[in-house]
Each structure stands twice: as C-alpha cells, then as structure tokens.
C-alpha cells in the first residue's frame, strides 16, 4: 500500500482540462504493464486515484492521461516536470488483445475512455497484418475535449479506420454529431468474426455493447472497462465491489457476457 516515487518527466496538456504526464521511477525500473491496466496515482498530501496507463513513453516510463475533475486529479494535472508523485501498480486485468488475432477489431471509446484503449490500438497497429479490419470510433462531448487528435490522425495513416463524433459541435465541426453508437453504421466489420474493446461512461458502454451484440458480435468477444470507486486496488478496502467481483482485481476489463447481466441491475 506504500507508493513508489516517480518523477514527472514531461507534461503535455491535451485539451481544456486534460493533461498527459510521463512518469519515471526516481530509483530502479518501471515495471511492465498490459494494455488496460491502471496505477494508483498519489498526489502527495492530497490523495490517490486510479488512472489507466495510456502508453509507455519513449524513455520507458508510463504515460498517463488525467482529466481534472476534483481535488486529486487537479493536483496531478498541475504537476510540473521534475516534481514527484507516488505510483502503485500496475493493477487489474487488462484487455484481451491476443484474443483478437485473426479477427476484425472494433475499438470504441467515449470521452477519456480512449486513454486505456490507446495501448490497445498501438499494439494492434504494431502487428497490423495479424488482424483483419481495425476500426477506431471515438466520441467526445465537444471538438475541444477530444483527446489525442493528432494520434487519431496517425492511426488512420497506419491502417485503421478512424471515426470521430461529438455531442456538441462548434462552428468549425463538419463531422458527425451524436452518440458513439451512431458510428457503428459507418464502419465495416464482419460481426461473427469481430472482437471489440469498449471504454467510456457506463451508459455508452452498454449501448455500444448491445448494438454490437445485436449485429451478431458474440457477447464473449465484447470487452468493457468498468469504473468503480477504488481506494486500495488490492482487494482490501471493499470499495470497488460489483456483485461477486472486485473491479480492482477481477477487472477493470470484463467481458460483456459476464458484466452485461450485472450492469442491467440498478445500483449493483
């Protein structure tokens, strides 16, 4: 439960309220991680929150993309290069990337849900010929809150079909408007031979998973990443209970055949 000190190596504001930090251990090596895993990030004296690892930086550290929504996330977003934070982890079960081999892949992100999916897309594109069609669909509240716009463009150049939609367009926006599920019409995939990775607000994940399943994707081939309140991340504090599961250890990534029935129960 004691964090290890990491130093902020770089800080890149992504959008209005979002920052990507790269972190390196003050001493020793940065442990490996699987796409979809998270760390507990500690802003000294302020608090600790779960944050997904959004990539490995060029120097070998973790990249983590944080949206300032409260005291801890704001304190972390304010950290400058050279300052220290505490890191525990990586924790949790990541995405089942190997299970997608040989299939069409749909990656669907809502809002900051793109952060834990970024290592997935990078892994898919790094072995491009191992997969069928790769589609990335991303939704944002407004064009200004869309994260990683340059990287999305790069993914398109590297052979992914990248589609973006916003809830609230501004005058410069010419793309589609609405919910992420609308983009499912715009991508090409063969449902029975498709694996999907979905992350975003719970309502978005349910709607997306339902739509994919309705089109014939097997519920066991749709993976979601859940968010629950977390304090310990090591199955001791009880906060992340989700029916019989602890999201910190049994998740955050769960298959829709497992999570779907439980997500349908209000207040579980």
């Amino acid at each position: 439960m004691t964090p290890v000190l990491y130093r902020v190596r770089s800080r890149r504001p992504d959008r209005v309220d979002t920052v990507t930090l790269t972190l390196e251990p003050v001493r020793g090596d940065c442990p490996p991680f699987l796409p979809g895993q998270f760390t507990m990030l500690y802003a000294p004296g302020v608090g600790e929150i779960p944050v997904s690892i959004s990539g490995r930086s060029r120097s070998g550290g973790y990249a983590q993309t944080i949206r300032a929504v409260g005291a801890v996330s704001a304190a972390l977003c304010g950290k400058r290069p050279g300052e220290v934070v505490g890191v525990r982890g990586p924790y949790g079960h990541g995405w089942g990337v190997p299970a997608a081999a040989g299939l069409d892949v749909v990656v669907a992100a809502g809002g900051l849900g793109i952060a834990p999916l970024r290592p997935v897309v990078r892994a898919l594109l790094a072995a491009r010929d191992r997969y069928g069609r790769i589609s990335v669909i991303a939704g944002a509240r407004s064009p200004a809150t869309l994260v990683y716009p340059r990287e999305l463009a790069r993914w398109a150049r590297q052979g992914a079909d990248v589609q973006v939609i916003v809830d609230h367009p501004d005058h410069a926006w010419h793309g589609p408007v609405g919910l992420v599920t609308r983009l499912i019409d715009r991508i090409v995939f063969e449902p029975r031979r498709t694996h999907a990775f979905v992350c975003g607000p719970e309502a978005m994940m349910r709607a997306t998973a339902e739509e994919l399943v309705r089109r014939g994707v097997a519920p066991g081939r749709v993976e979601l990443s859940l968010e629950r309140n977390m304090k310990c991340a090591v199955v001791r504090c009880g906060h992340c209970q989700f029916g019989p599961l602890f999201v910190c250890e049994d998740g955050p990534v769960l298959r829709y055949d497992q999570a779907g029935p439980m997500l349908a129960v209000a207040e579980l």
């Binding site: 439960m1 004691t2 964090p3 000190l5 003050v26 500690y42 000294p44 004296g45 302020v46 608090g47 600790e48 929504v69 220290v84 505490g86 607000p201 968010e227 629950r228 309140n229 304090k231 310990c232 090591v234 199955v235 001791r236 504090c237 009880g238 906060h239 209970q241 029916g243 019989p244 602890f246 250890e249 129960v265 209000a266 207040e267 579980l268």
Partner: protein
Amino acid sequence: MDAVVIESLEPLIAELRSRGFAVVGPVVRDGAIRFEEIASAGRLPRGVTDDQDPGRYRLRETGDEMIFSFAASPDSAKRYTQPPRQVLFRMRGERIEEAEEEAPRIALLGVRACDLAAIGVQDRVFLGGRHPDPAYRLRREALLLIAVNCAVPGGTCFCVSMGTGPRVTAGHDLALTELAAPHRFLVEIGSERGEEIVRALPYAPAPARDLADAEEVSRTAAGRMGRHVETEGIQERLSAHDSPRWQQVGARCLTCANCTMVCPTCFCTTVEDSTSLADGTAERAERWDSCFTLGFSEVNGTPVRSSNPGRYRQWLTHKFSTWIDQFGMSGCVGCGRCITWCPVGIDVTEELANLP
C-alpha cells in the same frame, strides 16, 4: 495435555501480564459490556447479564458469581485485528517512510466461538488472497486468544445456523467453560502457546464430571438461540434483486452504518490524506468505512448506490451471498450484533426469511 480445571482467573491474568501481554477483557462501561485492558480479574463483570433484542441492549444484574453470563458485545476482536484508524505512511520531502508497524502483544480474554469464526473470516480476507496484508499478519500473530464457551446466548444470536458456535472448536489458544457450584473453569488447550501458559498455573486435571458439565453448558446454549437463518439456498434467495422487500427495508433503514461498525467481519476501509503545516510532511491513514455511506461508491460525482434500498441490498447480499463467491465462506458468523445495535431494529434473519 488434556483439559484442566482452574479455580480462578487471577493467576492466568497475572501469568499473561508477566509474559508481556496486555490482557484485554470484558468490563462494564457506559451501560454495556465493553472490551478494555484489565490488570486483574476483579474488573470482569461478575453477576451481570445482557438482554438483547432488535434495537435493544440492556444490562441486568443476576446476583450470582458468574462472570461470563452475557453474549456478544458491541466491541469485537476486529478492533485489535484491524484497528479503526492506522497510519500507513508519511512523506517527508522526496522520501516516503512506511509507518512503524506496532503489533502489541494482546491477550484477548472472553472471545466467543462466533468471534473466533469472524477472525477466521478476516484471515481469509487479509491473508488468503493474492495480496496478503503484512500489517494484519503482524497484529494477528501478536494476538493470543482465550475463548469462552457461551452459556447464555443473546436474543439476537444465531451462530448455530451459521455453523460457528456456540462451542469453541478451532482458532483458540485456550477455551474456558465457566462452571458453577463450586465456581471454576474448565480449560481446553488449543495451541502450544496455550499449553505453555497453563503449565505455569495452579491447575488440576479435569475430572470426567467437569467435562460432561462443560458439554452440557454448550448443549443448553445451542438450544437457546434467539434466532435462526435457513442457509440452504441462500444465494438463490439473495439473487432476487428486485424483490419489493428491498424497498420496504430500505424505507426503514437510516443508513447510519451502525450495523457495519459492530460487525466483526465487515472489513471495508477508506483512506485519509493530510499534510502537516508544522513540518510539511504528508500522511496517509486508513480507517473503517461503510457501504452505507453515500461517498462509498461514488464515481463520476454520483454514487453507484444512491438509494437506501440499494445500499441495504448491497450489504445483506455481500454478507450472505457474494462473500461466498469471493472468499468461499459466508461473511456472517451469526453474532447478532447488527440486529441488536440497529437503531430501528432491522433484523437480518427476518429480512432473509422474507425474501422469496
């Protein structure tokens, strides 16, 4: 060494203290049986019993010389296995110091079978998984458990239903059965540590009659359970997520968290971070938390379980059903504390019985 008989607890307490144990036992305080450090057997609650019913706890004098004529008290061993608040670490500049792990040697006197079972549940939670808690292990190893076989179960007890009592069978260093006329204690040995301590006391081998009397105490106690739970098919019954019962009990529940605070197995905690203005150090502490609070499940600014029925259902379902999925055992040991200490007298056994 088989069972022995001792005439008084005074030499036992003295022996434990001379071995460096703080002896923690039951005393009368604030109109209840509480647990605190004692120096002599004179502090133990002689001639007192408790009446326990849903939302009701009263002490009553019996006028006899018996010391352990009461049932579960608001305190449980959890206070010593998992303290209500503990500092985890301090950060000074760019250095993190782990909290000095204090594990005082404590002899808990008067622990009941249900409470030993509760410690067994905690052992599974804190030591049985993939991330064992070293601080818990230290505290646990420093704990000596001197159990007492229940003679007078409370009106809210149901350990027989949960298979945890009333007779002590495992997890103890010593187990006492209090016998009357003449007043004496049958001592059964549960561990090598326990045996070593008994060898240092004035004792007599137990005659067959005392062994039979002790058996009779437990048999009588088992027949006097205040309550009962049908555990057969309990997980199926608790899968009725939309039973109207949840609305009814939720309408009564004050979400005060009392039931979780007195429960010997409820393990949920939260953390508090603070900084000292004096020396600039940052500190992180862990303290008991409860799934009945709104903030417990908050994500994205809204609690996952915002309604009273939702939170009550989470608690009951966890205790009696999902705990089994998670840890292979029930999270309830039948001590009845949550029933007694619920200000509105919500009774888990009644709620379970009324599910479809």
